[in-house]
Point group: C2
């Protein structure tokens, strides 16, 4: 299997002001091409550290560098690449024309010297055009290793790779193939699953590997097969995957690697149903999870984020006396919220949540992390109390996951009941 | 200044199924202690790669390792640490008691052998207790370098470091101090700012550095001073920062490093005002940005995410004829949405957005990325059309940032008008 290293350049990544999402995306995409990322190195805007990283990474067939190509003056990457790969700096005419077009026609701002300098590249590279921005990608080769330098802005990096980088890598490197199969469980801990799979794991052939990928209440289990002249790899993987899903049937939520909201959205889509959410403590996060997916309007009516009590009574007609009697974090209130939501949204299914996310607002009786969820249709509802023990952001995330799962259970329950 | 390296261990990080947020947090916190992260290395669950990374990192005073300590069987980190640092594996009694307590009293599940194994550590380490989970942190020293091994689960890693790691690092390493001052601009590109700051930058003393940290329409500018026996470092930094904020007064939105929603929340808080949002294309994302902050209920009434048209007319009383005449993505509709929102939420200020986020739904007249925003109070509103040119997630992010900025402008306008 071919190996790759990723090098990210920039003080902003090292000092932690920016989180690196590029590397994860690149690793996933390279994996699909049968190229395994074996190392990721992050260095600052410092010539010697960049050089060390490039030297270390040279044991790979492919090295991808991101960052350090912006228009501002703390960038030292391009001059370094010139020195490292040799050649002389020249203006790449098609890039210059593209930059001029962007400034004159799209941004309608005056072109500065800084922007023009972005069209300069060492003449030892092949340019990978950047249709989403100004700084182009650069393809170098040295001692049998391919080096691709890319801007750090995620959508520019992705566009260059999709349009030019991956196709050219694919034609330059023919690697072994890697196959993944992922299933998901919900509501069961990593160590409990591991206990149930002890025998299964010890019987796996040596070219198949099992990985646990927990993410809050959802644990993904991934089988990876690496082709090594095994003609039947795909068949063996499929049969092992079938074994795995059978062993964990009772806790499986998906035979695929999809986020929880997509599982629910797909269920609604195939049943031609719409949903809505009434969120208090999750503050719109469930709605955001759903609507970040293209085409969500086909299954999502909308949401009410009723943070204040008066908004709850105004919008969802939750009777004030119920709030006063049971407290705003209670099964009775989420039941009324769900009822009001289904009325006002005309959705088929709804989720209503109310809870205390912390760090403040907890009491002895209802400590931080107490959450009530109601999910269901006009006909069938499930109402459940949860208690999460984490920080605010994790509690919000866990509430969203469990609320979506509760709705999933109602839909399945209705199915089996009919 | 003392140097540190961060090593993350785990195939799940390398193949990109999990995004590494730990490193950014660790780098930020170490920076506050005057320790500069000079290198980050990500390696898979592979003994030789972990060893290479440790050897490379040994030029630092401090090396932090995260990951590879979970209860499942693809973890090889602990046996490796035993081999690398010597000693023998022993059960750490306080950790065992803590694990027994968690299983018996908190999770109320049967304790397995796997869980008990988490209490085993090489006797060459000092244990850093994990009050948020089972796998403890481990502190090793070798040839003048401190190595801290931590679990990869973010909240466990953070808890260990905050309770034990950072205090012990501070007492073990006395580094030079680092000072940062960050300001933020909005609505002006990185390269245009750089042009305005050319003279300022060339006049900076060599112990102060300027970094550009763009994040959508918001660009953070950070001055960093590294103490090097300059008694007046703090004063020089402050005077340079004053110069910087004066040069960019017209585009500055904050003299601090705070997210856009916090700027608006702080403005509302000091004025004792409440806000609400009516979101179509942002799908609850603005509400989520606000409510992820503790104490948001003091300024936030709630939100309506009116994804469908019938929800818009039902909830916000947007007249159907206005939707039919002008289209749902129009200045007229967001104006009506804002009006309805202020009525139903009883908030002082509101934000209403409607747009086409893509990838589908665009037309020749209203292409993907067209967004209308209305922001303001019952008395004063600003209504503005935007056109973003990115992918769905970026368009949502940009809409949220610009909508919050528009509300900021209304509040400032009201102030100066009175």
């Amino acid at each position: 299997m071919q190996k790759a290293s990723i090098i990210t350049i920039g003080d902003e990544l090292l000092i932690g002001q920016v989180i690196d999402t590029n590397s994860a995306w690149l690793a996933q995409e390279l994996n699909k091409l049968g190229i395994m990322v074996v190392r990721r190195i992050a260095v600052g805007d410092n010539e010697r550290d960049i050089e060390d990283a490039l030297n270390t990474a040279s044991d790979c067939r492919l090295v991808i560098l991101t960052g350090g190509l912006g228009p501002t003056s703390d960038d030292i990457t391009k001059p370094f690449l010139l020195k490292y790969f040799g050649g002389k700096m020249t203006v790449h005419q098609p890039t210059l024309l593209h930059i001029q077009y962007l400034w004159n026609e799209v941004f309608k701002r005056e072109l500065t010297l800084r922007n023009i300098k972005q069209a300069e590249v060492p003449d030892t590279c092949r340019v990978l055009p950047n249709s989403a921005g100004t700084a182009p990608g650069m393809w170098f080769e040295k001692n049998g290793t391919i080096f691709i330098s890319l801007p750090g802005v995620p959508h520019e990096m992705k566009t260059i790779m999709q349009e030019f980088g991956f196709p050219e890598i694919q034609s330059a490197i023919t690697g072994q193939m890697v196959l993944h199969k992922t299933m998901e469980t919900f509501g069961i801990g990593e160590s409990m699953i591991a206990d149930r799979l002890m025998e299964f794991e010890s019987n796996l052939p040596n070219f198949i590997r099992l990985a646990y990928l927990p993410n809050f209440s959802l644990v993904r289990l991934r089988l990876t097969a690496i082709y090594a002249a095994h003609y039947s790899t795909e068949e063996v993987l499929s049969s092992k995957f079938l074994e795995l899903t059978t062993l964990l049937k009772d806790v499986m939520v998906s035979e695929d690697d999809v986020p929880m909201e997509k599982i629910v959205m797909d269920m609604l889509h195939s049943r031609k149903k719409m949903m809505a959410t009434a969120e208090s403590c999750t503050g719109g996060y469930i709605a955001h999870l759903i609507t970040r997916n293209p085409g969500s309007s086909a299954v999502f009516e909308g949401a009410t984020v009723t943070y204040s009590n008066r908004f709850k009574t105004n919008l969802l007609k939750v009777p004030e006396e119920i709030i006063n009697t049971y407290g705003v974090v209670s099964g009775e209130v989420v039941k009324e919220m769900l009822h009001g939501l289904l009325q006002v949204s005309m959705a088929d299914y709804g989720i209503a949540v109310s809870g205390i996310m912390g760090p403040d607002g907890g009491t002895a009786e209802k400590p931080v992390g107490t959450v009530w969820v109601a999910a269901g249709s006009g006909k069938n509802q499930l109402i459940q109390k949860f208690h999460f023990r984490f920080g605010r952001q994790q509690n919000i995330e866990l509430t969203a996951m469990n609320a979506l799962n509760l709705l999933r259970e109602v839909i399945l329950m209705e199915e089996s009941g009919d």
